[in-house]
Amino acid sequence: MSLNTQLVRSLKAPARPAWEEEPHKAGLTAKGGLLLLCCLGVLGPLWIVIVTSLSPKPVIDRVGGLVVIPQGITFVNYTELLSGGQVSRAIMVSVGVTLVGTLFSMAVSVLAAYGLSRPGSLGHRFFLITMMATMFFGAGLIPTYLLVQSLGLTDTYLSLILPSAVSVFNILVLRAFFMGISPELTESARIDGAGDLRILLTIIMPLSRAVLAVISLFYAVGYWSAWFNASIYLSDQDMMPLQNVLIQLVQKHTSAPTGLQQAVRTGQLSALGLQMAVMVLALIPVAVASPFVQRHFKKGMLTGAVKG
């Protein structure tokens, strides 16, 4: 089969395996309808958000809330949000923290998930319980802040990564997937003298692409949308990540406290429209990232790996 026909196939005709029966018309319709309903349930509200973010201020003022039916379009909310020099810098910060943080979190999490994937190993239960306890007991802000400060992490980017680097939930999910891989696959490698690190890197991880993609996404989303730690641990405004800058930009346009009349802008922009624009901007990285993750969800993609 030529590459070309392959391409055509993947785009058009779905690869229905020979053994699978032709679907019923009714079943197909029901399935399609259900899927459509789910998507419309999401797209409806999303529509309202997008329309509001694109509506001129007089329209939003007249409607007095979110705009459902578009009456004129302006991109001023977006240009206003993105024009400040701070936003471009903050995007760099956020991208950097997300990349470094996700890599670091994945590294320690994958190691730990594998390290805990063999029940009966020394300290297995102890480590597992040590980890899980942190899911249920939280520390207050003051002790956490004092710790981060005494480690000299305040006003460094490390304060945005280290305190939140580990998600026990993510490790448990990884571990469950690792444990689902048949030991027969690793046994032969072990007999050949491969160590655990090699088994992890050459057998387990290639077989776990889907879950690795998912957990990376969880970590990345977490780092990308985090803002509270930055607002507490950082004092230098030039270090702030994107979420903080967006939150603060939007606030600028809500009415300022009294005594600060001079800070109130004379209303070319609608606070609501800006807030909606921020929401839409927040969705863009997700829309961009999701095909990359989806690629790892192809059905039955592991069959080849086993047979080959």
């Binding site: 809330g65 802040y145 803002w227 009349q261 209303g267």
Partner: protein, 562 residues
């Protein structure tokens, strides 16, 4: 468990929930338009290590008052109102209020809450201000939404910035103790005639300074507020005129007008949540220390014990039951101010500062919009019974252990930002540098983009002159705001606790904290009147009566505030 529980964005105890309070607080501030409201509606009901210093003892701590004669307001303060300036800006006529640079240029750090996106260090605005005041300030402009948490954590650490701005609504729990423990007595620099070195600080009214006494010493440099400062029931004058509605003058009139004006089909409701106005209509005092007063019968009572408290709530409940309150206000979502300008509600009770905010915001897109404020009426149609609000709500403080040079530089900065309206310093603080941050057209200063992004609420947080309104672009609004306060101020009386920075003992600090929610629930029909009554008697038995004794002793010792 949804996978997002795995997101590493937050620590286990959930910063999102912490952040939320602050955002609610600022949302309230945004809806209410300002800080005095928050003070009036609770949150400020605790303070330093128990008690207050007032009367003669306090007067010894205070700076001598030296009125500023630099620029006289067109409408002087009367009946506790703010002053008003209704003229145009003439840059050539601005005077100097700080003859000599008081700062020595020694660097120091200031932490303050900030709403907006803070400018970069070394921006033109900060540089110009530093040059003019002779200071060298490193700003730590912290997000106003999470300021309370940041403040709580920073104060518990051993590295506190040299100068810290503390708003009254962050003085919850034990933060007030921290103010006494961590910040210095400014008496040696400001008490009596010493303040004369700082002429603008000397011109801050003594009532406001008195609120800066924490733990028996003058620690806070205040941002003064007008005492004739109530939530104003703003109304859409254009709609009232068009429909021929008469402005209501009693609780019953309001009710019948509201029923007439409401038409759910046309998406018009009479009003938002009127609880805050109802306190004024019925003569209920504010919450916190200012809610205590000795009646004509000599009995000291708290606001929830006033018979008017339940009457006010019952009236608001009737408004909700009658369906004249906008459903979104019933659900307390969205922005009531936006519903007001969209004409979905015709009466919006809010901070009077929103009057100007909405007029200027709508001037271009909706020039026909007209706003006025309903004169507060007595519920029965007579004169209202109004209580003075707190004369200061934000302080800047200097950390204990700061060097003499740092203190003098911090005071120089505060003095600069307390410059009265009509001075070069005020203009610089409020608008930045002419040509760089703003231009003056027809006597109205207009900020350019740089001005909008750099000249924000940093310097203005350090101190302020006596309360005033000045809107060169809408001078009529300033006049009406001041006149409304003056008319209402005529009916104002002070409670026995007025003007004292009182700290209730922590064991009773949360005694009254339930009531705000109870009020919200009762007027919306989610609680019964008997629930409120039960809460009041529980309040009495579980500490309220003891708190009364404590207040009685305090007032006997310090003298009444009225």
């Amino acid at each position: 468990m949804t996978p997002n529980a795995a997101a590493p964005s937050s620590g286990p105890s959930g910063p999102s929930r912490r952040s939320f309070l602050a955002s609610t607080a600022v949302a309230t501030a945004a809806v209410a338009g300002g800080m005095p409201l928050l003070a009036a509606c609770g949150g400020s009901d605790s303070g330093e290590r128990e008690g207050a210093t007032s009367g003669k003892a306090a007067d010894k701590l205070l700076p001598t008052f030296v009125a500023s004669t630099v620029a006289n307001p067109d409408l002087p303060s009367k009946n506790g109102s703010a002053a008003g300036y209704t003229g145009k800006v003439d840059l050539a006529a601005l005077k100097a209020s700080v003859p000599d640079k008081l700062g020595t240029g020694a660097p120091f750090k200031i932490m303050s809450p900030f709403w907006g996106s803070p400018p970069k260090a070394g921006c033109a605005y900060y540089t110009a201000l530093d040059a003019a005041a002779g200071t060298k300030i490193t700003w730590q402009n912290q997000d106003g939404n999470t300021y309370g948490q940041k403040l709580g954590a920073v104060l518990a650490s051993s590295s506190i910035p040299d100068m810290v701005v503390v708003p009254s609504w962050e003085l919850v729990g034990k933060i007030a103790n921290a103010v006494t423990a961590k910040f210095m007595d400014l008496g040696p620099y400001l008490a009596g005639d010493k303040v004369k070195k700082y002429p603008n600080l000397a011109a801050i009214p003594s009532d406001a300074w008195r609120m800066g006494i924490f733990g028996g010493a003058l620690r806070g440099i205040p941002m003064p507020a007008a005492t004739a400062n109530w939530i104003a029931p703003l109304y859409r004058k254009d709609v009232f005129d068009k429909k021929g509605y008469a402005v209501p003058k009693s609780a019953d009139e309001f009710m019948s007008w509201a029923k007439e004006a409401t038409s759910a089909k046309a998406k018009v409701w009479a009003c938002g949540d009127m609880t805050w106005s109802a306190w004024s209509f019925f003569g209920v005092r504010g919450s916190g220390p200012i809610g205590w007063d000795t009646g004509s019968d000599g009995k000291l009572t708290y606001r929830i014990e006033q018979p008017e408290y339940l009457e006010a709530l019952e009236w608001v409940r009737k408004l909700f039951d009658a369906g004249v309150v906008h459903p979104d206000d019933k659900a307390r979502t969205g922005d009531a101010g936006q519903r007001f300008t969209a004409g979905q509600i015709l009466v919006w009770n809010t901070n009077i500062a929103d009057w100007y905010g909405k007029v200027s915001e709508q001037a271009q897109s909706n020039p026909s919009l007209q706003i006025d404020a309903i004169d507060l009426f007595g519920a029965d149609g007579g004169n209202p019974k109004l209580y003075a609000s707190s004369p200061a709500t934000i302080w800047s403080l200097i950390r204990k252990g700061a060097s003499k040079t740092t203190i003098e530089n911090a005071l120089a900065a505060a003095d600069f930002s307390a410059a009265p309206y009509g001075t070069k310093e005020r203009m610089l603080v409020d608008y930045g540098v002419e040509g760089t941050h703003y231009t003056v057209k027809n006597g109205v200063p207009v900020k350019n983009d740089l001005g909008n992004s750099e000249v924000l609420n940093a310097w203005v947080m350090l101190a302020a002159p006596a309360a005033y309104y000045a809107h060169p672009d809408f001078p009529e609004v300033a006049r009406k705001q001041v006149e409304w306060q003056q008319r209402m101020g005529a009916f104002m009386k002070k409670t026995s606790t007025f003007g004292m920075n009182i700290v209730e003992p922590t064991r009773w600090a949360n005694l009254s904290s339930q009531f705000e929610q109870l009020e919200i629930d009762y007027v919306r029909g989610h609680k019964k009147l008997s629930d409120v009554q039960a809460a009041i008697s529980t309040w009495k038995s579980s500490g309220g009566d003891k708190l009364r004794d404590w207040y009685k002793e305090l007032i006997d010792k310090n003298g009444s505030g009225n």
